[in-house]
C-alpha cells in the first residue's frame, strides 16, 4: 500500500513551548491511525499540521506526493475542502441548516448544484442509521446522531483523508463506540484513511495503528510496520 499522507521532521513552536519536535509520520491508503497522548502533548498540533490548518516551522507535509505545507492559504483551504474531511467533538454543524443541507454544503461549495448535492447527501443517511432525520436541525438531534451527520458531511466529498479530533469526546461510551464503528467502517469503505486524535484507548482500539505523542515527540508507531 502507498503512503497517502506523510509528515517529515515536523517541528512547531508556540513561543518557548515546543509543540512538535521533529515528528515523522506516514499514513497509508484506507488505514486508520489513532494519535494518542495526554493534554498538551502536541497531538492536536500534529493533526493541524497534517491537515494544512497550520504550517510547521520546519519539516514537510505531503499528500499523495504533493507538498502541502508550502501551499498558499487559499490552496490549502481548497485542499481541506476537497481532499480532506473533518469530524470535531461538537459545534461543527450549522444550527440553522437541516441535517441534509449540512451534509450537502461541502458539495455545494465545490460547485455541485443544490438539488444534486442534497440527493447525494441523502444517500449517506441510511447507511449511517439516520434515515428519516434528513430535515431535522442539529438542535433536534441527539449527540450521537449529530456526530453521524458530521461523519456524513466529512465523507460526502469522498476525501482522501478524514481527520477526527476527539470525535467521541462529547458522547457516552456506548454512543461513542457506535460512532467510532461507523466512522472507521465508512472511511474504510470509501477508501479514505482516517486520523483520529483521542486520549481514549477505547477509541484508539478501533484504529489499525496507534501513535503515542509525548512532549511533541512520537514514542511509537510513526510509520506503518
Amino acid at each position: 500500500m502507498n503512503d497517502v499522507l506523510v509528515g517529515r521532521s515536523l517541528t512547531k513552536r508556540f513561543g518557548r513551548t515546543v509543540a512538535l519536535d521533529g515528528v515523522d509520520i506516514a499514513v497509508r491508503t484506507a488505514e486508520a491511525v489513532a494519535i494518542m497522548g495526554p493534554s498538551g502533548s502536541g497531538k492536536s498540533t500534529l493533526l493541524h499540521c497534517l491537515a494544512g490548518v497550520t504550517g510547521p516551522d520546519s519539516g514537510e507535509v505531503h499528500l499523495l506526493g504533493r507538498r502541502v505545507d508550502t501551499m498558499r492559504e487559499r490552496a490549502r483551504s481548497a485542499l481541506r475542502r476537497t481532499r480532506f474531511g473533518f469530524v470535531f467533538q461538537f459545534g461543527q454543524l450549522l444550527p440553522e441548516l437541516p441535517a441534509e443541507e449540512n451534509v450537502a454544503l461541502p458539495l455545494m461549495l465545490g460547485g455541485v448544484p443544490r438539488r444534486q448535492a442534497v440527493r447525494q447527501a441523502r444517500e449517506w443517511f441510511g447507511p449511517l442509521g439516520l434515515a428519516g432525520m434528513e430535515t431535522r436541525r442539529p438542535g433536534e438531534l441527539s449527540g450521537g446522531q449529530a456526530q453521524r451527520v458530521a461523519i456524513a458531511r466529512a465523507l460526502v466529498t469522498e476525501p482522501a483523508v478524514v481527520f477526527a479530533d476527539e470525535p467521541t469526546g462529547a458522547l457516552d461510551q456506548t454512543t461513542g463506540h457506535e460512532t467510532m464503528r461507523l466512522l472507521t467502517e465508512a472511511t474504510r469503505h470509501n477508501g479514505a484513511c482516517l486520523i483520529v486524535v483521542t486520549h481514549d484507548p477505547g477509541v484508539a482500539a478501533w484504529c489499525d495503528r496507534t501513535v503515542e505523542v509525548r512532549d511533541g515527540r512520537l514514542l511509537t508507531g510513526g510509520m506503518a510496520a
Binding site: R74, S77, R80, F88, G91, L109
Partner: protein, 646 residues
C-alpha cells in the same frame, strides 16, 4: 451573591466577552445621546416660544391695561427685523423681558445682532430707521436666538404707531393691543415648530428604542449559553433574571452616563444647527435636571426590561438555548396589527388633534417594527427555497432561524425609510413667487394714498434715490431705478421708514420670507432627523453584525478549518442583510409615504424625491459599510485553529 457572581461573569468574560460588553455600552451611549437630543429639542423649541411670548400680547381685561403693545416686521438684506412698539399707559408699566426698564417714548433698544448690523452698515441703509444712539441692548430673555434682529421702540400712547391697525396679512405684524402685563402667550407660529419638533422626536425615538433593545439583547446573546448552563446546574429563574438584569443595568447605566457626557460635548456643535433663522442658546439644548434624571433612570431600566424579554427562552426552559431548537413560527397577527394601524391613517387629517396624530404615527412605527420579523421570516423561506449557492442558502436559513435578529440589523434603515417616506411626501415644492427686484410696496391704512406717494417721492429725493412712485387703490409702490442690489433696496427701505405708521415697505421676497424660512427649517429638520436615524441605523447594523459573528464564532471557525472560504461566509452575511434590507426598506418607505398622505399640504416637491433617493443610497451604503467593518472580526475568529466554546 448574585451581584458578586454577575460581576465575576462580567469581568471574566475574556476579551471577546468584554468586546460584547463594550459594544453594548457603546450602543447605549449612542442611544442615550440621541435620546437626550430628541427629548431636549422639544424643550428647546418651548424655551424659544416662551422667550418670544412677550411679543404676542394678550388683551387686558377692562380697566387693567398698563401698556399698549404692537409689532411689525422690517427687513434688511434678506433678514427679518421684528420691531416691537410699546407705549406705557401709566407709571405701572413693567419692564419687558430682557430690558432694564420700560422704554420711554422715542427710545430704541436693539438686540445685540441688530446693534452690530446698525454699526456695520451705512446709516442710510439701516441706522436711520431708528433713533440712535440706542438706549440699550436687549438681553437673551427677549430673544428667540442670539442672532435674532429685534428692535423695541418706545412711543406715546396716542402716537400713530400705537393706534394704526397692522392689517390682516401674515407678515403684517400684530395690531396695537392694551395689555395688563408683558408676559404674553406662545404664538401660533411657535406652535407649528413645536408640532414639527414633536413629530421629529417620535420619528427619532422609536428607532432609538428598537436600537436600545437590540443593544440589551446583545448582552443576553453573549450570556445566554452561560446562563442556560447556570439553569442546568440548578439556578432558579429568579436568580438568572436578577443576574442578567443586574449586568444589563450596570452596563446600561455606564453607557447612559457616557452618552450624557457625549451629549454635553456635542451641545456646542448642536447649537450651530440653524432653525428659525439662527442658532441656539446652549442653555436651550441642555436638558434640565428632571429630564436628565429621567433619562439616566429610564434608559438602564428599559435595557434591563429588554434583557428580561430576551432571556425569556432561557428562563422558560434551560434546554431552549443549550439545544438550539427550531424557534416557534412568528404569528401573522403581527402583520394584522400593522395593517390595522395603517387603516386608521386615511381617516386622519390635519384637523385631527395633534396628540392623536402623534400616537397614530408612533403606533404605525411600532407596527412596522412588529411586522418586520414576520416579513423577514417569509423572505428567508423564499430565499432558502430558491437558493442555488451556499451563501444564499446560508443567508436564507439564518433569516428563517432568527428573523428577529436579522430584523434588528435592518430595522434601523427600514425605520429611516419610514421617516424618509413620511417626510419625502410631506416636503412641499419650493415657493414659486415671482418677486420683482427693487419693487417696494406699502398699503396705506389712513389718509390719501396720493399724499403718501407724494411724501415717498420727497423722501426718496432727499435720500438721493431715483425711483418711480405709483399708487393704485390703497397700495403705494416704489420702483427703484438702476440695479436693484440689496444696498439700494435697503436705502429705499430706510428712506421710506415710518411713511405709513405701523407699516413697512416690503419687496415680494420679503413677503415670502416667512414661508421660505419655514421651508428651509423643514429641510434642516429633515436632514437632522434623517442623520439621527442613519446614525442609529448604521450603528445598529454594525453592532448586530459584530454580535452575530461573536455568537457564531465557533461554527465559523470550524467551517473555515474544514475549508469553507471566508468569502462564502462573508457573502452569506451580506446577503443575510441585503435581502431583507431591500424588501423591508422599500416596504417601510411605502408605509411612511402612506401615513404622510393625509397631511400633505401640496404636491411633493423634487426635494422630497431627492431626500428619499439619498436616504436609500446612504442607507444601503451605510449598512453594507457597517457590515464590512466587522470583517476583520470574522477573520480573527476564523483564524483560531482550535476553536472551543467559551
Amino acid at each position: 451573591m448574585n451581584l458578586d457572581l454577575t460581576w465575576r461573569l462580567l469581568r471574566g468574560g475574556g476579551p471577546r466577552g468584554l468586546l460584547g460588553t463594550w459594544l453594548t455600552l457603546g450602543a447605549v451611549a449612542v442611544s442615550t445621546m440621541l435620546l437626550l437630543f430628541a427629548v431636549t429639542a422639544n424643550f428647546a423649541f418651548q424655551a424659544r416660544a416662551d422667550r418670544a411670548a412677550w411679543r404676542n400680547p394678550v388683551p387686558a381685561a377692562e380697566g387693567r391695561a398698563v401698556a399698549v403693545e404692537a409689532d411689525r416686521f422690517d427687513y434688511v438684506r434678506d433678514m427679518v427685523i421684528t420691531v416691537v412698539d410699546l407705549a406705557a399707559l401709566g407709571p405701572d408699566a413693567p419692564a419687558p423681558p430682557g430690558l432694564a426698564r420700560f422704554p420711554a417714548p422715542g427710545e430704541v433698544w436693539l438686540s445685540p445682532a441688530l446693534a452690530e448690523l446698525v454699526r456695520s452698515l451705512p446709516a442710510d441703509q439701516l441706522a436711520n430707521r431708528f433713533t440712535t444712539p440706542a438706549a440699550g441692548v436687549l438681553g437673551e430673555q427677549a430673544l428667540v436666538h442670539s442672532e435674532e434682529l429685534v428692535a423695541v421702540v418706545g412711543h406715546e400712547p396716542g402716537s400713530p404707531e400705537m393706534t394704526a391697525e397692522r392689517g390682516g396679512a401674515p407678515n403684517a405684524g400684530r395690531s396695537p393691543v392694551k395689555v395688563a402685563d408683558l408676559s404674553g402667550e406662545r404664538s401660533r407660529d411657535s406652535g407649528v415648530y413645536q408640532v414639527l419638533a414633536l413629530i421629529a422626536s417620535v420619528l427619532m425615538v422609536v428607532p432609538l428604542l428598537v436600537f436600545g433593545g437590540a443593544a440589551a439583547r446583545l448582552t443576553v446573546a453573549r450570556r445566554d449559553q452561560r446562563l442556560a448552563a447556570l439553569r442546568l446546574v440548578g439556578a432558579t429563574p429568579g436568580q438568572v433574571v436578577r443576574m442578567t438584569v443586574a449586568e444589563a443595568v450596570v452596563v446600561a447605566f455606564a453607557g447612559a452616563l457616557a452618552g450624557t457626557a457625549g451629549y454635553a460635548l456635542a451641545v456646542p456643535l448642536l447649537t450651530r444647527v440653524r432653525i428659525g433663522g439662527g442658532p441656539w442658546f446652549a442653555a436651550d439644548l441642555w436638558p434640565g435636571p428632571p429630564v436628565l434624571a429621567a433619562v439616566l433612570v429610564s434608559v438602564p431600566l428599559l435595557v434591563g426590561l429588554s434583557a428580561v424579554v430576551g432571556l425569556r427562552r432561557v428562563v422558560v426552559g434551560p434546554l431552549g438555548v443549550a439545544k438550539r431548537e427550531t424557534p416557534p413560527a412568528l404569528r401573522f397577527l403581527r402583520v394584522l396589527a400593522l395593517l390595522a394601524v395603517l387603516a386608521v391613517f386615511p381617516l386622519l387629517s390635519l384637523d385631527v388633534h395633534l396628540g392623536v396624530i402623534a400616537v397614530a404615527l408612533a403606533l404605525a412605527f411600532l407596527g412596522v417594527n412588529l411586522a418586520g420579523p414576520w416579513v423577514v421570516a417569509v423572505i428567508g423561506r423564499i430565499t432558502a427555497g430558491s437558493a442555488r449557492t451556499p451563501a444564499r442558502l446560508l443567508a436564507g436559513r439564518r433569516l428563517v432561524d432568527d428573523p428577529r435578529s436579522a430584523w434588528r440589523t435592518v430595522s434601523g434603515v427600514a425605520m429611516t425609510g419610514f421617516v424618509a417616506g413620511f417626510i419625502g411626501l410631506l416636503s412641499p415644492g419650493t415657493f414659486t413667487g415671482e418677486a420683482t427686484p427693487g419693487l417696494l410696496s406699502v398699503t396705506v391704512t389712513e389718509g390719501r394714498p396720493s399724499a403718501v406717494a407724494e411724501r415717498a417721492r420727497e423722501r426718496l429725493g432727499e435720500a438721493g434715490l431715483a425711483a418711480t412712485v405709483r399708487h393704485s387703490g390703497k397700495l403705494v409702490t416704489v420702483t427703484l431705478a438702476g440695479p436693484a442690489d440689496p444696498a439700494a433696496v435697503d436705502r429705499g427701505r430706510t428712506a421710506l421708514a415710518g411713511l405709513v405708521p405701523g407699516r413697512t415697505p416690503t419687496t415680494g421676497a420679503d413677503d415670502e420670507q416667512a414661508g421660505v424660512q419655514l421651508l428651509a427649517d423643514v429641510g434642516v429638520g429633515t436632514v437632522v432627523v434623517l442623520s439621527v436615524s442613519f446614525l442609529v441605523a448604521i450603528a445598529s447594523a454594525g453592532i448586530t453584525a459584530a454580535s452575530s459573528i461573536l455568537d457564531r464564532r465557533q461554527t465559523y471557525a470550524l467551517l473555515c478549518l474544514a475549508g469553507t472560504p471566508l468569502e462564502v461566509l462573508d457573502r452569506a452575511r451580506r446577503a443575510e442583510t441585503l435581502i431583507p434590507l431591500t424588501v423591508m426598506g422599500g416596504g417601510a418607505i411605502a408605509a411612511g409615504a402612506f401615513c404622510a398622505a393625509p397631511f400633505m399640504i401640496g404636491p411633493p416637491g423634487v426635494n422630497g424625491a431627492i431626500t428619499l433617493l439619498t436616504c436609500v443610497a446612504i442607507g444601503f451604503a451605510g449598512v453594507v459599510g457597517a457590515g464590512a467593518l466587522s470583517r476583520p472580526l470574522l477573520r480573527s475568529v476564523t483564524a483560531d485553529p482550535a476553536p472551543r466554546p467559551d
